[in-house]
Symmetry: C2
């Protein structure tokens, strides 16, 4: 990308901000958005921050037909001193480029895009809520916009970032969830798109999710698509199990998303000298550990909930209650530590925090 400037057009009509005590996830968006365009042979160009507005897109645009798209999700946190900081944002843009490669979407300049997002956060700083547990959710995404019905990689794309103030995932403290092991539907298989953050993975998950919700379960636990034996992910999160003092999580095998929170959990456990391993974990192994009393904790990890304890697993008609359906000690410690780092309440020994310079170059 030759032109590394970001054009800024500020809104004339600021929107009313929502009540910080009743924030829903992803329904209200800030006053501005970041956009840049891609066209062959120019490459990425015309990076700009503009008023939040609808996209005007031809109905033949590829995104509506062939799903060539990727996205990311990260958060900005308000500290007690009023600063705003991001959590490991460089990991999100590394992963976005990894997803781009799988989806045949041109690479982005990770540093430039991160600067653009920090500029956007600075401009919409008043949208970052102050209430305990709240944050600004940042959604970068890329869509294919060439107006052409041939099945081939698009020659036009848009990279867009929108932001939404969000409440605490746990309004009344952390409640362990009930999870159903999925035996019929498959999320991804080796050779597919499971390790890319692309729309199709989420579209394909809706059916299984709908079925288990009706049965009283909050999410599904996906098994591998080849043998239907090995654990992959839970819902849209990575998953961990504490068995006889050791924490295990499925290895990154090509069909699992490499979660930023997953990586942070592993680093923290190593820092604490808690045994942790990334390896194949079968449902049969979990069942046996439950039967002999060594399945001590289970939890999902992700940007939205950080740590989501699992209180019950349903598998083949069996109901495995874990840790009496209560949050485990280690799950709680991980949640407390990661959120404390995110909100700047404790030291950050891993250099995970990236501060946003609120003295934006833009004159507000």
């Amino acid at each position: 990308m030759e032109d590394q400037t970001i054009r800024v057009e500020l809104t004339n009509s600021k929107k009313e901000k929502p009540d910080e005590n009743h924030l829903e996830f992803g329904r209200v968006f800030t006053d501005h958005m970041f956009i840049m365009d891609y066209a062959e042979p120019i490459g990425w160009h015309d990076a700009r921050i503009v008023p939040y507005q609808p996209l005007v897109i031809d109905p033949s645009s590829m995104i509506f037909h062939y799903g060539q798209s990727v996205f990311e999700g990260l958060k900005g946190y308000r500290t007690e001193t009023g600063d705003i900081q991001l959590f490991r944002p460089e990991k999100n843009f590394q992963r976005l480029n990894h997803s781009n490669d799988r989806l045949v979407i041109p690479q982005i300049d990770e540093e430039f895009v991160l600067e653009g997002i920090k500029e956007l956060v600075a401009i919409d700083r008043d949208w970052v809520p102050h209430t305990e547990g709240t944050s600004i959710y940042i959604r970068p995404f890329i869509i294919s916009t060439e107006p052409y019905l041939g099945v081939s990689p698009s020659k036009h794309f848009k990279f867009i970032v929108i932001m939404s103030p969000v409440g605490s995932y746990y309004k009344e403290g952390i409640n362990p969830v009930k999870i159903a092991v999925e035996n019929q539907y498959v999320r991804a298989v080796k050779g597919g798109t499971g390790e890319a953050k692309t729309g199709g993975n989420y579209a394909s998950s809706l059916k299984a999710q709908e079925i288990v919700e009706k049965e009283g379960y909050s999410q599904v636990l996906w098994l591998d698509g080849m043998e239907r034996k090995y654990i992959e992910e839970v819902g849209a999160m990575n998953v961990f199990f504490k068995i006889n003092g050791e924490v295990v999580t499925p290895q990154l095998n090509g069909s699992i998303l490499a979660g930023v929170t997953r990586d942070s959990v592993i680093q923290l456990l190593k820092y604490w000298d808690v045994p942790v391993s990334e390896r194949r974990v079968s449902m049969q192994e979990l069942y046996e550990a439950h039967q002999n009393g060594t399945l001590e904790e289970a939890f999902g990890s992700g940007t939205a909930a950080v740590i989501s304890p699992i209180g019950e697993l349903r598998w083949n008609g069996e109901h495995l209650v874990i840790n009496n359906g209560e949050i485990g000690e280690l799950s709680q410690k991980l949640y407390d530590t990661i959120t404390a780092i995110q909100y700047g309440k404790v030291e950050d020994p891993f250099d995970w925090i990236e501060k946003v310079n609120l003295k934006s170059k833009v004159n507000l």
Copy 2:
């Protein structure tokens, strides 16, 4: 759907039509489009034919993030008498509803939508080309439009139909293609979305396609995602092999698209008393048939090309040349017969043809 009327708003500025002798696939669109909206709890509503125009969609709309979408593809053919006719359109709308079910998209009224498309074709009748081998490509699609970042089924959708005049797939006669058997990437797996016509399946196929194109192959042949042994599809077509006088094609196992042309080929073969079976076909079986001289023909089937003969298969470094790289007798007969039925040049013993009433209710 309670209100079964279609509102019509005609364009004031008709576009110039492209040269019928140089039509590209899917780049130029007709003067009008069909749209209807879905919202809970109203259901599908406000069916309308309006001037072809860009969509104005919020950047938070689910289609840009989670890929909840389905589509179809069919053609309208100009007969020698100037009539326009469709080929088995009811099959496309049955399949669209099947795809809808898998993607958690509300069912459409198949008969009503077919009436809407016939009305659209009648209004844009002058866009249906007359030149030999040309047709109007009709693209119905549904996109999720709720402005919400939660991963859950959308509560708002748009059903849209756009149309594009297209040339003959074979400008200089049918040329058999070279196909590479794909060993690394997987299109779909049982339990996934392979039998639904949804964007994610096409997005995930782009990478493998890009690689083999650089190696001089026109498409990939997908193997099953579990054992990587059994034939699934070729590119975006179904596939058939004639082995020792019998035609075989992979059975519909949950990960293969149920092609309309595929079904038509099977019906025609039965009508002609040619042995045909739908069953598992392994690459090893094809290899052995090739070695002992019984792999007589191979071809893909789909709406775009109708019949696409395969002249060479690359598999594990082996190059299997089929029928000396020439189109086989049966492939040619299938192509000739299906296209003759589509263009109304021969009788239609199967009741496949649906005529469009060109006396549209609309006053042009």
